[in-house]
Symmetry: C2
Subunit: 346 residues, 2 copies
Amino acid sequence: SRSLNLAVIPGDGIGQEVVAEGLKVLSAVLPQDVKLETKEYDFGAQRYHATGETLTDADLDALKQHDAILLGAIGDPSVPSGVLERGFLLKLRFAFDHHVNLRPSKLLPGVATPLAGEPQIDFVVVREGTEGPYTGNGGTIRKGTEHEVATEVSVNTAFGVERVVRDAFARAQARPRKKLALIHKNNVLTFAGHLWTNIFNKVAAEFPDVTTEYMHVDAATIYLVTQPERFDVIVTDNLFGDIITDLAAAVSGGIGVAASGNINPSGEFPSMFEPVHGSAPDIAGQGKADPTATVLSVALLLRHLGYDAEAARIDEAVSTDLAERTGKPARSTTEIGDALAVRVAG
Amino acid sequence: SRSLNLAVIPGDGIGQEVVAEGLKVLSAVLPQDVKLETKEYDFGAQRYHATGETLTDADLDALKQHDAILLGAIGDPSVPSGVLERGFLLKLRFAFDHHVNLRPSKLLPGVATPLAGEPQIDFVVVREGTEGPYTGNGGTIRKGTEHEVATEVSVNTAFGVERVVRDAFARAQARPRKKLALIHKNNVLTFAGHLWTNIFNKVAAEFPDVTTEYMHVDAATIYLVTQPERFDVIVTDNLFGDIITDLAAAVSGGIGVAASGNINPSGEFPSMFEPVHGSAPDIAGQGKADPTATVLSVALLLRHLGYDAEAARIDEAVSTDLAERTGKPARSTTEIGDALAVRVAG
Ligand SMILES: CC(C)[C@H](C(=O)O)[C@@H](O)C(=O)O
Ligand SMILES: CC(C)[C@H](C(=O)O)[C@@H](O)C(=O)O
């Protein structure tokens, strides 16, 4: 019999609530013969305040034993900006070499968008996850004085760029439209920009059936609101990916339904799946959070582990659930989770 | 009698066409006693191909003699990406210390927006123009090999951040709503982020009547499409400013109406005014380009030089012109320029 050994990190704020529903749907969808084992970890603001720890070497060793990781949200206003982000979220992405940060954007029928008309949105962003301006390179001199200088160094390697570009080409090739856009700012960031562009063009030669285009990140924000149907697969740098995936989430139904996977394609380390939204402390503990983004992250997790049929059942259940929301009173976090669990089991 | 000694850089593509209309409106609006002198410069792709030059020291000396600079657009697909951007546009911004990059976003009545509903949009972005990832710091090793490493260094100084933050606070204080948002990514780019945040908070103490907020750049893209009315003045880094002002232009009527000023507030060097759009080679020479963004840039230029009443007349003429477009056939570049010239003279 098969098993799925999952690390669960509820985290802060609404993280607790949405993860509970994610697990509910996961249990409901998994085939009977799959033994689901979960272990919960207490990372986040509380543990940081209690111990000063964010993510230790021992924690990483423990997490390594799992098949995958499901995370709710990490972050709280009581912790200085950057401490949990750099000390936990980014540390984990770097330690487990999550270089493919996968963020699908699909505007499902019946879902509200801030865009006028009826835009067709169905694309996926492949965001590089271990390089660029996220490496923590840089520093500060003369801190706090009028002569302070602070630098941030974006580090880009042929190795790091090529593997994520290849991943994106393969994803584009597997989709009906077979289109891939590279987003960068190669007219200003010429060192990194040329590296990205040259590798993109080199790899493109091996995927002659994939249609490619290049777009500056500033222009891309325009297209995301005026012609989102233009996009199929996007590959981009860590920081540009951060920015455009929030915009992409906003136009395709909001961060309440935006899922993401921090993927280590080789399987050397477990991959991590999380909603794009944060811990939303303002609505935490009130049963108001929409667990849909977490449930869709569970679908990404299942697909990553080869449970394609189960992932598809979740996607379908979410589609139906969203389509039937219009005009109905708002439901609580658990009500939505219950409804989805019933649908995927059905 | 007064004089206005203007450097005119039509540049590439539609730059030629839109600048002609900008000058037409400028001549029409200027008081009779102001002697307008213009000198045209041939920067851009043609000169680059003919001479290999983008902007020489002698060019800079010549440009320095003017009260201000009006630019159409620079850039052509025949020139490798980055050559004219770094060699002309950015070189000029850095040489003339254009540290306040001013980009107003106002959705005027009757103007189409990709956003649903009737959003109220009226804010101005103060983008830092001489630091951040735009300095050209960085480099490449092992170029073209599988071991290539390319870096980009974002350089941020207390001096550079404080002057632009102060400028933004003063602008916020002068507006009815008196709100200022700092946009950065201080949870990831902690070195630069802390410098920006600390200086922002320090200067805020001197402007107690200005309401402030901080927002991560990724979250800002969400608010720009879901709650654009939230913004009054925004201050941000060079690269974040580049990205969000294109998005801001898109939601507030498109880059056809987005103006910008590259301002040296001390007046040590002439400031430069240009539409946010590029040279649009696909429609160049066809009389299809909308000169409105250039005409609005002329208004920014006039306001910078103290011609407030004339700037207001242009803004008003543009408002009326845009409001009356609905349902009418499209006009040519010169027809729009003619109409605006008549209105401002009226
Ligand atoms: C919280 C932060 C470190 C993170 C990022 O910048 O990657 C978040 O914005 C995201 O997109 O997952
Ligand atoms: C053309 C390019 C150098 C420029 C920039 O990145 O600043 C443009 O996008 C802008 O916003 O003025």
